[in-house]
Symmetry: C2
Subunit: 334 residues, 2 copies
């Protein structure tokens, strides 16, 4: 059973993998190369993965594959579904059993096909898979929130080349979500409005950092971008949780995400990137002060000692400069 | 002038480099290789660096170099010393002029010599340089705290091979320090004791995670290690700030750091690493609930989407396993 342990100095939790612990020699061969010849995620290799949780098949696959998007449990999960939830003290420290879910969303039956290359209807199926898995995992009352993320490219921490995203559902609310809830809630208490509403209004008015907009969603390079060419994609309507968004918003998100990833690929020569979905914790889906967002973070530089020690980052590209470059590329990536 | 900008959702600040902004093509050639043939930091190349702030020369250099440790301003500073401190609003956002200091501590006149290879007296001079620079920068009333850090190896974000550490002094207290102050202060309010006192007592009693100890300092792999083989080095006496430590503590820290870095180099085949000094903000040097510590974090894996989104990490090596490996290596690195 993995162990969830709390740092007494910061309140942050760490998942300690107690089984198959990595020893010093295991790190020596940790190269940054991806396995790219054989993919266990390709159509035809279904037996190489754990039994599937769900498949999406819309019959429109160009190669006639049986499925378009497929959800499976992670073969090497960070947390375990089995077990009772419960915290315990360990002297001065606090710990918890590592209960949770860790799933993989295979975004395409074809290795080498990238997320931004998928047609709109296929991209939308990926987002439906995220939504459906969150909705289903909410039935497990031990779980408090879900983190959907995608690591693309070896530099961004991917270990397989085949396009996929992941979902980790946790028995506690993440520190980042707690921090964002605290700040957005304080803002609403003080000013009577959502910080997201004010922020989006200011951005649309200034047009300095807007990368993409339509009737349902907006994408910006945020004012205090932690990383160069970071992009936030948010709904215009005040949905605190991704899974309560209406269908037009999900459809628009699919088109916007395809445009944003296409622009980043063209501007930065297909960079490695991390993508993260920030969405309200389970039970707070209608918090008026919060709003979900997708954060895309190209991996262009390394976090180092200063960033670790301070929690601050040094961003060498002002978001206004990044937005100008991204706006100049049309949404088909040219 | 660099811009300090605050993320309205987390309260974290970002240093935005507004001069010489990096454009997309600047990232294409960002390789992980270090310049290793010529070093501007070597004895004899003093003219290649900005004018020095201070030098330490104890006349014992084996090659007869003029200096042993040398402090210079960073040639490409993240913050600027000139200018008035002042915050301003930018609509919904908050910003501040990027005032601060960014210095480099050249740890040896010889390229290729590593910090852990220095004799005790030389290692102690490096720590004296850190302490003296903090004490001097405190006279600048615009500054609120100093972060001393070291990036060793390309994977840890170093751009020069020659052994050096850095110091950034900031016009505000870092988010991490604020978080640690809040947690350690709450602990003392609740229990009447310092969390550091309790933690060190428990670790010395259990001996499961102790890597090094003497009469003045203790080094452990922390209970909730965020990274594999992470080590914390702390004084036994309740010094909240590094610069108020007494001489025996500084001397013991030099010997302990040499031992810890030697053990990590031997166990992990000379890994890249980040080292960070956490020390009380200026004016809070005697806070009874806090204690300074050195954190050494070998760079063995990549932070990815889950870690960014959650603030949690997944650590594949339990600290008990890491400590066992490090204890088995004697302090001369064999």
């Amino acid at each position: 059973m993995p162990d969830l342990r709390k740092d007494p100095l910061t309140g942050r939790w760490v998942i300690i993998a107690t089984e198959r612990a990595k020893r010093p020699r295991d790190f020596h061969n940790d190269s940054a190369r991806l396995e790219s010849s054989y993919s266990p995620f390709s159509a035809g290799n279904e037996a190489a993965t754990p039994p599937e949780i769900r498949r999406y098949s819309d019959g429109r696959d160009p190669d006639g594959a049986d499925w378009t998007v497929r959800v499976i449990p992670n073969k090497f999960p960070a947390l375990r579904v089995e077990g009772e939830m419960g915290g315990h003290a360990d002297g001065v420290y606090d710990a918890m059993d590592g209960v949770g879910a860790h799933e993989v969303i295979i975004e395409t039956p074809r290795q080498g096909e990238q997320l931004e290359e998928l047609p709109d209807w296929h991209m939308e199926l990926v987002l439906h898979a995220w939504r459906d898995r969150i909705v289903d995992l909410k039935n497990d009352k031990r779980l408090k929130c879900a983190v959907v993320f995608k690591n693309h490219g070896a530099a961004a921490g991917a270990s397989l080349e085949h396009a996929h995203s992941q979902l980790i559902a946790l028995p506690l609310v993440t520190t980042e979500l707690e921090l964002e809830f605290a700040h957005s809630s304080a803002y609403m208490n003080l000013r009577g409005r959502s910080v997201f509403t004010d922020m989006i209004a200011q951005e649309l008015d200034a047009q300095e950092r807007v990368v993409y907009e339509d009737a349902h969603v907006v994408a910006i390079t945020p004012y205090a971008s932690r990383h160069p060419f970071e992009v936030w994609l948010m709904p215009r309507a005040p949905y605190a949780a991704f899974e309560v968004s209406d269908q037009p918003t999900i459809g628009a998100t699919a088109r916007a995400l395809k445009a944003v990833l296409g622009k980043l690929a063209a501007a930065l020569d297909h960079p490695s990137y991390n993508m993260m979905l920030y969405s309200a914790p389970f039970g707070a889906e209608h918090a008026p002060h919060y709003r979900w967002r997708l954060r895309v973070q190209p991996k262009l530089y390394r976090l180092a000692g200063f960033e670790h020690a301070s929690g601050f980052t040094i961003n060498p590209t002002p978001p206004e400069v990044a937005a100008r470059h991204l706006r100049e590329i049309d949404s088909t990536g040219r």
